[in-house]
């Protein structure tokens, strides 16, 4: 077995005050070995970025240990670098100054700084851009500066936090290719690469080892090796199988994944899903749900999710919440990485605008805990209003503050679509809109 560079032992992360803390990462063991590219995959909210920050020493675990070359670590790792999703270049420094900055921090004298920076800029194809400011560069060029800044310190581990997701498809493809060329040609002065991504194909294209996370709380669901020679070809059967396997794991949150059979994978060290205390609303819009169901219905009611995402050119992070929402509402079921529409879903897909709202209202108030709670609480009040804070406090017991704010936003969105309730932004209260009351009165009078 290869040398272990960084190791997490029983690392956990909590947010919030001690008496009402929220677990965002369940106890986790994870090692980064020399000579490998490790990809970390997972839906949003699975603690991908948190794990990256704990491994790199930027953030401390709430409990557990970070071991670096056999020594417990306190503070940032001595020799690592991060390539950020948003580039994180200093906008007031030129390209050269940006790349020199980490060397300056190490006390490298000016002439040597210059020599090393120019050399690394050459190797990422940025010669001639030394005096430019970041804002004068395209996204792809900016990320090249990000790579140059990371590589100039010759980091032992290169961390990458969704480095290609802010770039357009072609630029990302190109940059990925160049990165792999540097790595495979041993031209990169690093011993391991750790990449966080939500793009399944990217993970399968790049990684020697893939770790898939589950959410609520974040935990490792499967950890397997990909033994395919590089460059990997998308039309390869084994490539397809690996992608399909990850899809199946991701789309069925409660499943304990079986080890991936083909493609030479190792056994998966899977952890069963912890029973979630409070059901979480997936952040999808009613319009998106309707669109997905219509498409599914048009295509015969059953389809492989991987193919669907590919056809729609949707990222995993965009498609998964919609699928989850539709299945929560009882409009579809997911099995073996394929979605199948239910009779209720067919009715919804074929209905007109107003009928859809009614079907959504019925489904949401019978299947979705938060929506049902808000609607019932409002109905039981004489003036039909309640402060939003009341539900925020309730959600804060189960989620981080950011997440409970998002939960409220999604609930408002769904509540408005279903015409169950609305929110007054200036008073910060939920209320039952007048129209709902009066229109139902009219209906009664008409009948």
């Amino acid at each position: 077995m290869a040398e272990t560079i960084i190791e997490l032992r029983g690392v956990e992360k909590f947010y919030g005050p001690a008496e009402a803390r929220i677990q965002v990462v369940a106890p986790t063991d994870l090692s980064v070995y020399a000579g490998e590219i490790l990809a970390l995959l997972g839906p949003s909210g699975s603690g991908k970025s948190t794990l990256l920050r704990i491994l790199s020493g930027l953030s401390r675990p709430s409990s557990g240990q970070v071991i670096w070359h056999g020594q417990p670590l306190a503070g940032p790792c001595p020799n690592v670098a991060i390539v950020f999703q948003s580039f994180a270049l200093f906008p007031w420094l030129t390209v050269l100054d940006n790349v020199e900055a980490p060397l300056k921090a190490r006390g490298v004298p000016a002439d040597e700084r210059m020599r090393r920076s120019v050399k690394i800029l050459d190797s990422v194809g940025l010669d001639g851009f030394e005096a430019a400011f970041p804002k004068e560069l395209s996204g792809g060029m900016k990320q090249r500066v990000g790579f140059a800044r990371a590589l100039v310190v010759e980091p032992e581990v290169l961390f990458m936090d969704e480095p290609f997701s802010a770039l357009d498809v072609l630029t990302a493809e190109n940059l990925r290719g160049e990165l792999m060329e540097l790595w495979d040609g041993k031209k990169m002065p690093t011993r391991a690469v750790f990449i966080v991504t939500h793009n399944i194909e990217e993970a399968v294209t790049l990684a020697d080892r893939v770790v898939v996370l589950g959410k609520n709380p974040g935990r490792i669901r499967t950890d397997f090796r990909i033994r395919m020679p590089r460059p990997r070809i998308h039309s390869d059967m084994r490539f397809h199988e690996a992608v399909d396997y990850i899809y199946r794991v991701l789309t069925q949150p409660d499943l304990v994944p079986a080890p991936q059979p083909e493609a030479g994978t190792q056994a998966a060290a899977a952890v069963p899903a912890a029973r979630a205390k409070y059901p979480m609303l997936p952040h999808a819009r009613p319009g998106g749900i309707a669109g997905l169901l219509e498409l599914l219905n048009d295509r015969g009611g059953r389809e492989n999710l991987y193919r669907q995402a590919d056809d729609l050119a949707l990222e995993l992070d965009d498609l998964l919440p919609i699928v989850e929402a539709a299945s929560l509402l009882g409009f579809l079921t997911v099995q073996e990485g394929a979605a199948e529409i239910t009779p209720e879903g067919i009715r919804f897909a074929e209905a007109g605008i107003l009928r859809r709202k009614e079907l959504f209202k019925v489904a949401a108030s019978s299947h979705v805990t938060l929506i049902r709670q808000i609607a019932r609480a409002l109905a039981s009040k004489v003036d039909h209003t309640l402060p939003v804070e009341f539900f925020r406090d309730l959600l804060d017991e189960h989620f981080t503050q950011e997440e409970s704010a998002l939960q409220i936003e999604t609930a408002v969105n769904w509540g408005r679509y279903a015409e169950l309730f609305d929110r007054d932004a200036s008073t910060g209260r939920f209320y039952i809109p007048e129209e709902t009351a009066s229109s139902s009165a009219e209906e009664a009078a008409g009948n």
Binding site: S86, W92, A101, K104, A105, P109, R149, A425, S426
Partner: protein, 575 residues
């Protein structure tokens, strides 16, 4: 034929930098001379009631004295603001306290500090002019430092997480982090707040260059005292000379300091994409191209920076020992205890003093507070009535804006306190009292905040919204109700908040005035503060200052905060 052209271009290339160099050198010489003169004057024997000449020849000297006061106060403020903002942003336990202190100090009228500060400074340097000068500098400092400190603090708090993480993961030393991340990030906010602060500083400087404290008559040579003296004497030419000098100084500062600074700070914008609009400054251009400046920078600043960065980086390598952390902890705790004790003692003393307040004094104070409150409201209403239509007209009409905006800027840049004596003179001629007159005085300073904010708001209304109003043939009423007023609302609230703060502060100088050997006064909280200052009645001064601070804080919490919230939620101009 090409030869003369070539030689000419060569000559031009050589002569410009030379001229610029000469200019730069003469500026340096002039600065040194000015410093020497000022120091000589400061170290001179104390002349609290300097004779103020009315001759225009004395004006350059007076302008210099006023300018030096401003500059020193500003530099002190800048250093203090950066340090305060830094500590508040990074010490979690101190943060809430320090931000609350900022909030309260911003609401306390500066001029009520005047007597204590002056007496303290004079007793510190009883034989030197320095004492009185320091007093006025400290006063200006207390007036302008808070918003700068707050701006730097909030800049530090809003540094994007990933930029901070980049600095952490690449192990920047504290020095490098300050220089390459924190200071650049805060520069734009600091520059704009400095402009506002210095404008406020002029306001107070004019007021505190000439004042009476009991039987002491303090007069500092400067533009403010010149104007007051000219107005007292009814000397119209001298008034005009004084105003002209004032405007020249302010326009020069704008051109020589603020514009180059704004243009320079443009590179610190956080935007990731290049924008088309940019402020240009010929002065900055000249400075950048002056070879003398370049030479000095290459020889002195750059190597010094380099050395500092590298040595700080090396010093930061080994982690701080546990012993030193323990020591700093103890020092911090001791400091905290000392400060707390001092605060407790002072509060207790103040309460002891306030216990002797009689019911009659309290009721007159409250009555006075009511009168001043009504004046503040009246001045805001008058400002609204003319500034909103005018601002909207200017904002909607680019051609009008080109003419009106620079004029309004010059008019606004003259500190209202400099105009007070002139307006008073007119009031006396017309036979009006200070009761109504002080409203005009408050208006002088505050109307501009509203005007400029309304102009900015009107310009920010998307033209599509106005076109929609045209297409659907909105009536004038409907247009104001659905497009204009909601569109300018957030800007209007900002303008009103600043204007109301300014009006409260102005009341102290506007309601009570020494004029031609007499005292003009009217019922009001400002008048009460000023007269208590005059008569050395510390009890009444304390009481009225507290009442004013409480009023201002209450108005902020009860009126402006909810309006701000409304502006941020309902009237935000974006999808």
């Amino acid at each position: 034929m090409s030869f003369p052209g070539l030689s000419r271009s060569l000559i031009r290339e050589r002569t410009w930098p030379l001229l610029v160099d000469v200019a730069v050198f003469s500026v340096v010489l002039a600065t040194i001379y000015a410093i020497l003169t000022t120091v000589h004057y400061w170290m001179g024997v104390v002349t609290p009631a300097a004779h103020i000449s009315r001759s225009p020849r004395a004006l350059p000297g007076y302008a210099l004295y006023s300018l030096v006061r401003m500059t020193v106060a500003y530099i002190v403020s800048l250093v203090f603001a950066v340090a305060y903002g830094y500590i508040a942003a990074y010490h979690k336990r101190l943060e809430t306290v320090m931000v609350a202190v900022l909030d309260i100090l911003q609401s306390i009228p500066v001029l009520s500090f005047l007597p204590s500060v002056m007496l303290a400074m004079v007793s510190l340097f009883p034989t030197r002019q320095l004492g009185v000068e320091l007093g006025s500098i400290v006063l200006i400092f207390t007036g302008q430092v808070w918003n700068m400190a707050f701006s730097f603090y909030s800049s530090l708090k809003s540094i994007p997480r990933e930029l901070r993480e980049a600095a952490d993961i690449y192990r920047f030393s504290a020095w490098q982090r300050f220089l390459e991340l924190e200071l650049p990030f805060g520069v734009i906010g600091l520059v704009w707040n400095s402009i506002v602060s210095v404008a406020g500083g002029w306001f107070f400087l004019m007021a505190c260059e000439m004042f009476v404290l009991g039987d002491h008559d303090f007069r500092l040579p400067g533009l403010g005292s010149y104007l007051q003296r000219a107005a007292s004497a009814g000397d119209t030419p001298a008034i005009l000379w004084g105003l002209a000098a004032m405007i020249v100084v302010i326009v020069l500062i704008d051109q020589l300091v603020w514009r180059p600074l704004i243009a320079w700070s443009d590179r610190f914008k956080i935007e990731q994409v290049e924008s088309a609009s940019a402020v240009s400054s010929p002065v900055l251009h000249l400075l950048r191209n002056a070879s003398a400046v370049k030479w000095v920078e290459r020889r002195t600043l750059r190597p010094a920076w380099e050395r500092l960065t590298v040595t700080r980086a090396r010093a930061a390598r080994p982690a701080a020992g546990a012993g030193r952390i323990w020591l700093t902890r103890v020092a911090q705790a001791a400091g905290l205890v000392l400060v707390l004790a001092a605060v407790l003692y002072a509060t207790w003393q103040a309460f002891e003093m306030l216990r002797s307040v009689t019911g009659a004094a309290l009721s007159t104070t409250l009555e006075a507070a009511g009168a001043t409150f009504l004046r503040v409201v009246a001045s805001l209403l008058i400002a609204l009535v003319w500034a909103v239509p005018a601002g909207v007209a200017i904002g909607f009409n680019p051609r009008l804006a080109r003419v009106a905006q620079p004029l309004a800027q010059i008019a606004a840049s003259v500190p209202a306190t400099a105009l007070f004596p002139v307006v008073l003179l007119a009031l006396v001629h017309l036979g009006g009292g200070l009761g109504v007159g002080s409203i005009i005085l408050m208006l002088l300073g505050t109307q501009w905040y509203i005007l400029f904010n309304v102009i900015a708001g009107a310009m920010a209304i998307p033209s599509e919204l106005r076109e929609a109003a045209d297409v659907f043939r909105f009536t004038r009423m409907q247009r104001w109700q659905t497009v204009i007023l909601p569109g300018i609302f957030p800007y209007l609230v900002t303008g009103l908040v600043t204007a109301s703060g300014g009006a409260w502060n102005a009341s102290i100088v506007a309601e009570y005035f020494h004029f031609r050997g007499k005292i003009m006064t009217t019922l009001g909280l400002g008048a009460q503060i000023s007269s208590a200052t005059d008569s050395g009645n510390t009890l009444l001064l304390l009481l009225s200052t507290i009442v004013m601070a409480v009023l201002v804080v209450c108005v902020n919490r009860l009126v402006w905060k909810p309006l701000y919230r409304l502006a941020e939620t309902r009237y935000r101009l974006e999808g």
